[in-house]
């Protein structure tokens, strides 16, 4: 796909995120906007997938969202890719919706293979799915996305240790390095030191994507990561993103982690992101 077409999806996805969160006056726009380019690239350019959803994902690449609170971007990307009708984005967080506040399999939403929201669990699940692929002789890959603050959860480090110890080399885990969490910057809440050094010390191959909101940089990073799979080591991408990217007043702050824009703020935000594929 041409980069411009991907950029159009990015712009529309940002609008979807903002409108979903605004409508119900709840949800997490900041991290969603920061990971929009990554998820648009992954689902539209990188992964081998079948939008006629089957839970087992045999002979498909799989994706697990560990930081489930960025559900708005996940839902928008899934629906725009064709997993379910875009009109259903209208039901985000409403009673009887398949689009729960945090993603779940419980309501049968196509494209979701695990519930997430309680942080730190996604990598373990991905390891199980990756090992099942190996047992099944399925050579496709497993991708994950985690928040940087999420790495404060200890279960991650059990999984990170296991992945290299057991040579799970069909896994590409991406860490959204936006440096922010609910209570402030990651450095003020709980300094984690060098995440790169930690992953390397745990035996992973680590790639850095410094421009984590640049489609070409993301695609190059994912391409390189893919070329490094199958070499008896798990692969990690440290994706440096800007929380709230694409909306000037949501950038350079953690304030929009879990806050919805007002009517005026929505209008301002939408004016910065043109409608490209038609609003839902």
């Amino acid at each position: 796909m041409e980069t411009q077409k991907l950029q159009d999806i990015v712009s529309q996805t940002r609008r979807d995120i903002l409108r979903m969160v605004h409508k119900v006056n709840s949800g997490h726009p900041g991290g969603s906007l920061g990971c929009t380019e990554f998820l648009v690239a992954l689902y539209n350019e990188v992964m081998t997938l079948d939008t006629d959803f089957k839970m087992d994902g045999a002979n498909e690449d799989l994706f697990f969202l560990s930081n489930g609170h960025i559900s708005p971007v996940f839902y928008s990307v899934l629906s725009r890719r064709g997993y379910f009708p875009v009109e259903e984005l209208n039901t985000f967080r409403l009673l009887n919706s398949r689009l729960q506040g945090h993603p779940t399999t419980h309501e049968g939403l196509p494209g979701v293979r695990i519930a997430s929201g309680s942080l730190g669990q996604g990598m373990s699940v991905a390891l199980g799915a990756a090992q099942a692929k190996k047992l099944n002789g399925d050579d496709k890959l497993v991708y994950t996305l985690h928040g940087d603050g999420e790495l404060q959860e200890g279960q991650n480090w059990e999984a990170i240790m296991y992945a290299s110890g057991k040579k799970v080399d069909n896994l590409i885990a991406t860490i959204d390095l936006n440096g922010q969490q609910i209570d402030g910057s990651t450095d003020t809440v709980l300094p984690m030191g060098s995440i790169k050094a930690k992953f390397e010390a745990f035996g992973w191959t680590v790639l850095e994507v410094k421009e984590g909101n640049n489609l070409e940089a993301i695609l190059n990073g994912l391409k390189e990561a893919k070329s490094l799979t199958g070499k008896r080591k798990p692969v990690c991408i440290l994706l440096e993103t800007m929380m709230g990217n694409g909306v000037d007043f949501m950038m350079h702050t953690h304030a929009w982690h879990g806050k919805a824009p007002s009517d005026e703020q929505l209008a301002n935000a939408l004016s910065q992101n043109p409608e490209t594929l038609g609003d839902y």
């Binding site: 099942a132 047992l135 099944n136 279960q155």
Partner: protein, 317 residues
Amino acid sequence: MKEYTNQGSKDTRSGFGAGLTELGRTNPNVVALCADLIGSLKMQDFIDENPERFFQIGIAEANMMGIAAGLTIGGKIPFTGTFANFSTGRVYDQIRQSIAYSDKNVKICASHAGLTLGEDGATHQILEDLGLMKMLPGMTVINTCDYNQTKAATIAIADYEGPVYLRFGRPVVANFTAPDQKFEVGKAVHLQEGTDVTIIATGHLVWEALEACKELQVKGISAEVINIHTIKPLDEKAILESVAKTGCVVTAEEHNFLGGLGESVARTLTLNNPKPQEFIATNDTFGESATPAQLMDKYGLNAVAIVKACEKVIKRK
């Protein structure tokens, strides 16, 4: 009164190991995971025969539950093995979100449950696990009574779709159920017919209930004994039919009275046919170090205690 013979005492965890070994031969989708307790869980035979289908996770139970959930996505039927404490309380949120809420077909197999773990003491003797697991929507909860039943249950749950908590124990206990039994999830087993009192027991207390039944007969009391191996879903029909006949009930379990089998039975009776009930269970307490027999005696979880409870509940009719 039916005669039940101890065919030779064995530990229930060895029944799990034997069942898992058989599944390894008959069901190619069964995989096993362990958190550094292969010997305690009796998993070595399965591992020897199916090394590629075994995952040694290390001392990382949270990771084990997540990996098990992920394995189901590729069509596997994972059996996790560790102590009951580390299978439940330690990993409650992982089970809740990644397994129960995500509808994953994981079999959580938990050994060393309850006081009969013995000398290791309260850090390892969980008495709250049935309650924890019972409260999770969609979770099936099973507590088997002897080697043969544990083996049969292990084999049966592989074909039972959905998350299952299978609880068993460490000590060598009487093995008295049929080796060729068919295990039906959610179906109570009538062990003795009686008219004066119904004893509803689970796990290690089932043999004690049979012993109590013999003692009660000497005293001229006719006790009905029901083995409730499945605590959820509960066989309410079997309970209500029996209590309609006897008019009172004693529940018996190696668990806190809060959250256990007794509370499930009490709810069933309250909603349908309120009758006097006595609870053989621990009384909102932690355990301690001692031999299993000493502990079961001190905390009132044996045939002697069941007999007393039956006499008391009959007077309350």
